[in-house]
Amino acid sequence: MPKRVLVVDDEPNIVLSLEFLMRRAGFEVQVARTGGEALKALEGEPPDLVLLDVMMPEVDGYEVCERLRAKPEWRKTKIVMLTARGREAERERGLALGADAYITKPFSTRELVEQVKRMLEVA
């Protein structure tokens, strides 16, 4: 049974590239374009990993992360935060909120895929 990945970003082209990469890596991909959509998507069966953009209008990535970690049944879901803001303070904030990794945009696609695979213990 393939692992499931939720891609959350408000940039259509980035979503497209992430979706492509995750599919190629053999994961089942779900997409959300806002923080609100992401939370809605989590309601059903929680994914194994979330690729979460930080800068989104309305509900931002930190908030999604916080909510995600607040629910015990979502505890197992891994969170990889993606951000175009590379400051150390923000990285720490993300990790403190319970993110498992923090990746700065633009990223190396290979590294990203490997990171995700490692976290999901595939290959």
Binding site: E11, N13, S108
Partner: protein, 911 residues
């Protein structure tokens, strides 16, 4: 030369030599600190310098003609002596507190250290003392002439000269030897005081000897004398009517004499300057009147005896000498002469010392020092010069006396001459007595009053004396000057019937006092005058505050200084430091070493300024009390310190304000910094976002060569469009930063706004077509002249259009562009039928990177988030305004204005 006269002259010279020796001894004792005069008896006897040849010879002269008419001259001083513990004590306190050296110095110090007052008082004193000195010359000269005549010799022949001139020369030499041995006027002339006290005893004993001889040898006691007077028909001299004085005259002469005993230069010298202890006043207060009474006891008996024994009233001035002579008492005659001589010499010595001190200190030296070219102020030692001036002063006074004697004095009685001097110095009374009682008396008042009193004195008393002497015509007195009867000198304004001296006293003192009060009330005193007035009038209070001590500087004195000027806590802190430095406590009684003095001075200098600190410490070290000069300096510096601290306070307030301003500016800067940080973070984010897509898809394309052609093309298109986005963004950021930093290269010129809008629409054509937007354009045909940068305004129009296209619904999007003239402005509206902008966000849309959130279901807006910000900057650069409002189409209306260019020709030129 005859026997008796020779003997008398020899004895006189021996007597003078003895006086000189006595004075030297007195001075030596004083130097050794074993003063022989520090007791009230010597003080009282020294006051008796008041009794001069006038008393010795003149009183008898008056008594012979006018009975008790000689008495006011002694009753007045008796009254004043009773006030020794009142105003006189106060004058002494003041003089001691402020180092006063003469009556001129006193007056000048009281009236703001006025040189004018000092000079004026000196001149009045000098002029007033001249007739008085001439009186002494006359008395002694007459005595010598009498002795010579008794021997049957002619004075001129015997002496080879005018006897008065010889007397003047001897007295001048003696006075110079006596009075100018040292120069420090503040020092007491103890030797001189001892000598004149001795002279007071001599003249008293001599006079009593003559009196006893006359009463009990020539007559058989007072009753015999009285009986023989009755027999001679001269007993009417014993009635008051014989005085030919009215009660007003009597009162005024008494008053005049009361002033004289204090104000005559020699009297002020002995009463005030030479006083060693204020306590001596108490006993002198009754013993001095006693002396006066005793020396006057035999005046009437001698006068009556003289008359009974055939003397005339005209000769009465010399009865004291004549009676022993006529009755063959050679030795007694010499004694009588010696008494007269001692009375005269005492007066001349003290008077000339007093006047010459004034002349040098208060008149000549200040003038010389003021003449800069003489450079006196720089000369280290002025002793010789001062002594020279004083000797000249003595010569001047005695020469003046001699000349007065020759021109006027020979024709006048001794007492008449004396009264002229009395009335002259009485002019000091108002400024002196009001000066110590009324703070309101000021310099102008004192000068005007003194000048007025002095003038009236000259006119009503000195002038008439020249008439008496025949120097001036008698008609002046009878008819007045130029025949104006009201101005007759001895009956001013028709006031007749008064004794000339009383008349002068009344008018001169009234004018003097009246003008002093009036002018003082009408004019303003300087600060210095007011300060001096307070120091003088309130001398008792200021005396109670601790003074700076005599003797070497004691540790305690320094401490006291520090406490006084720095306050106790500061002084104690310094003392603790000193104790720590020495490792042992400081004893207040031990002498302070130089280091301590220096440190104390330094500490004081911090509080009261260097000059003042020097002055007060120096005064403590030298053991002088702080003089008025130093006090003023301190006051002045304190003033400066206050002013300085006031300025400091002001500065600190300014500084506080500046600090607040700086803090504000700093906050603003930090805020700007934060904004810049935010801006940079946002720019970084905005740049990274397209970069992320570009990199991701490039890597995907690289890593996946197996992709289908369609997918490859799609990805490549994404890369292209994201690259374009990146380029736009970079351009916008650069534009904005150029505009904001003022480095934008504006191409300003006349333009037709309608043309520019059309150009903007053409540039947006592609976008409009792509979105399927229905575009309405409402632009008038006539040109709309503006002055601007054409390309930038086109950019604004394009920005607004693309912004509108972003938010319109698809399909069915509608955009309308409108150009209108509204008064002095053209207005361009770009309306759409999108969601509109809520009122709260209408200001925010023009901020950097404020993304208008469009319909997210369609697509994320492709703008850079800087378009509107840049548009706003551009419009405002050309004097326009940009804003958002509701559109008639239902969505937002982005509007901007530009001012109409003044000259349409500019537009034609552009077209």
């Amino acid at each position: 030369m005859s026997q008796l006269a020779t003997l008398a002259i020899l004895i006189s010279l021996a007597y003078l030599a003895f006086l000189f020796a006595l004075a030297s001894w007195g001075d030596r004792r004083a130097e050794q600190g074993r003063s022989v005069i520090a007791n009230p008896y010597i003080y009282t006897l020294s006051l008796a310098v008041y009794c001069t040849a006038w008393t010795y010879f003149g009183s008898v002269g008056v008594a012979a003609g006018q009975g008790v008419g000689f008495l006011p001259v002694y009753l007045g001083p008796t009254l004043l002596a009773l006030l020794f513990l009142g105003p006189v004590r106060k004058i002494l306190l003041i003089a001691k507190a402020y180092g006063i050296t003469s009556i001129a110095d006193f007056a000048s110090a009281r009236y703001g250290k006025s040189g004018a007052v000092a000079g004026l008082v000196t001149i009045v004193a000098l002029v007033g003392s001249i007739p008085y000195i001439s009186l002494q010359l006359k008395a002694v000269a007459t005595g010598i002439e009498l002795l010579l005549a008794h021997d049957g010799a002619d004075a001129q022949g015997a002496l080879g000269a005018d006897s008065a001139l010889l007397v003047a020369l001897v007295l001048a030499a003696f006075s110079i030897l006596f009075g100018t041995r040292h120069i420090d006027a503040t020092e007491h002339h103890q030797g001189m005081v001892l000598a004149i006290a001795f002279e007071s005893i001599v003249k008293l004993l001599c006079f009593l000897a003559v009196g006893v001889f006359v009463t009990w040898v020539l007559f058989a006691g007072p009753s015999d004398l009285l009986a023989r007077a009755e027999a001679a028909g001269i007993v009417d001299r014993l009635h008051f009517s014989a005085t030919r004085l009215g009660y007003a005259d009597w009162f005024l002469l008494t008053l005049l004499s009361a002033f004289a005993v204090l104000l005559l230069p020699r009297q002020f010298q002995v009463v005030v300057i030479e006083n060693l202890e204020i306590g001596h006043l108490r006993r002198a207060s009754w013993m001095f009147p006693c002396y006066l009474l005793i020396i006057n006891l035999f005046v009437l008996p001698i006068a009556l005896a003289g008359l009974i024994l055939g003397g005339t009233v005209a000769e009465a001035d010399s009865f004291v000498l004549r009676l022993p002579l006529v009755h063959g008492q050679g030795w007694l005659a010499i004694v009588a002469f010696l008494g007269g001589l001692s009375a005269a010499t005492a007066m001349v010595i003290v008077e000339t010392v007093a006047v010459s001190t004034m002349i040098s200190n208060d008149l000549v030296m200040p003038l010389l020092l003021r003449i800069r070219s003489l450079g006196l102020a720089q000369r280290p030692d002025l002793t010789g010069l001062i002594l020279g001036v004083r000797r000249a002063g003595i010569l001047l006074a005695i020469a003046g006396g001699y000349l007065f004697f020759h021109s006027v004095g020979e024709a006048m009685g001794l007492v008449s001459i004396g009264y002229i001097a009395f009335a002259g110095v009485a002019q000091f009374a108002p400024l002196l007595l009001l000066g110590i009682a009324w703070k309101g008396a000021n310099r102008n008042g004192a000068v005007v009053g003194l000048l007025a009193g002095f003038s009236v004195w000259l006119y009503t008393l000195v002038l008439p004396s020249f008439v008496t002497a025949g120097v001036l015509p008698e008609s002046l007195l009878r008819e007045g000057p130029f025949g104006v009867a009201l101005l007759r000198p001895t009956a001013l304004f028709g006031l007749e019937g008064l004794h000339p001296v009383a008349h002068c006293t009344l008018w001169s003192l009234s004018a003097n006092t009246g003008l002093l009060v009036l002018v003082s009330l009408l004019t303003r005193a300087s600060d210095l005058e007011r300060l001096q007035a307070i120091l003088f009038v309130d001398v008792e209070q200021s005396r109670r505050t601790p003074r700076l001590w005599r003797g070497e500087a004691k540790v305690g004195a320094l401490e006291e200084l520090l406490v006084r000027f720095l306050g106790r806590p500061a002084a104690e802190a310094i003392w603790r430091a000193e104790t720590a430095r020495r490792g042992r406590p400081l004893d207040p009684d031990e002498p302070a070493d130089a280091g301590l003095v220096e440190r104390a001075e330094r500490q004081l200098a911090r509080a009261i300024g260097a000059a003042s600190a020097r002055a007060v410490v120096a005064s403590a070290v030298r053991g002088e009390s702080i003089g008025p000069d130093a006090l003023l300096e301190i006051l002045d510096e304190t003033q400066k310190v206050i002013e300085y601290s006031r300025r400091l306070e002001q500065k600190s307030q300014e500084l506080e304000a500046a600090t607040a301003e700086l803090r504000h500016a700093n906050e603003r800067l930090r805020e700007l910094d934060r904004l810049k940080d935010d801006f940079l973070a946002t720019v970084s984010h905005e740049l990274r976002t397209p970069l992320t897509s570009i990199r991701s898809f490039s890597e995907i394309l690289l890593d996946n060569p197996d992709l289908g052609a369609e997918e490859r093309a799609h990805f490549l298109r994404i890369i292209t469009s994201e690259s374009e986005r990146l380029t736009r963004l970079i351009n916008d950021v650069l534009d904005l930063s150029k505009i904001e930093s003022g480095r934008m290269d504006w191409q300003i010129g006349p333009a037709d706004l309608a043309e520019l809008v059309r150009e903007g629409i053409r540039a947006a054509q592609g976008l409009v077509a792509e979105k399927g937007v229905e575009l309405e354009v409402a632009i008038p045909d006539e040109p709309a002249p503006v002055t601007c940068d054409r390309d930038r305004i086109v950019q604004v129009v394009l920005n607004l259009l693309s912004n509108a296209c972003k938010f319109v619904p698809r399909p069915g999007g509608r955009v309308r562009v409108e150009l209108q003239r509204k008064g002095p402005m053209f207005e361009i509206r770009v309306e759409d039928n999108g969601p509109g902008v809520p009122p709260a966000a209408r200001e925010l849309v023009f901020e950097k990177f404020h993304q208008l959130t469009g319909d997210l279901n369609t697509q994320k807006p492709t703008g850079t988030g800087l378009g509107l910000t840049i548009s706003k900057q551009i419009v405002e650069r050309f004097g326009g305004r940009i804003w958002v409002e509701d559109a008639r189409l239902g969505g937002a209306a982005l509007c901007f204005t530009l001012p109409v260019a003044e000259s349409p020709s500019a537009v034609r030129a552009a077209a």
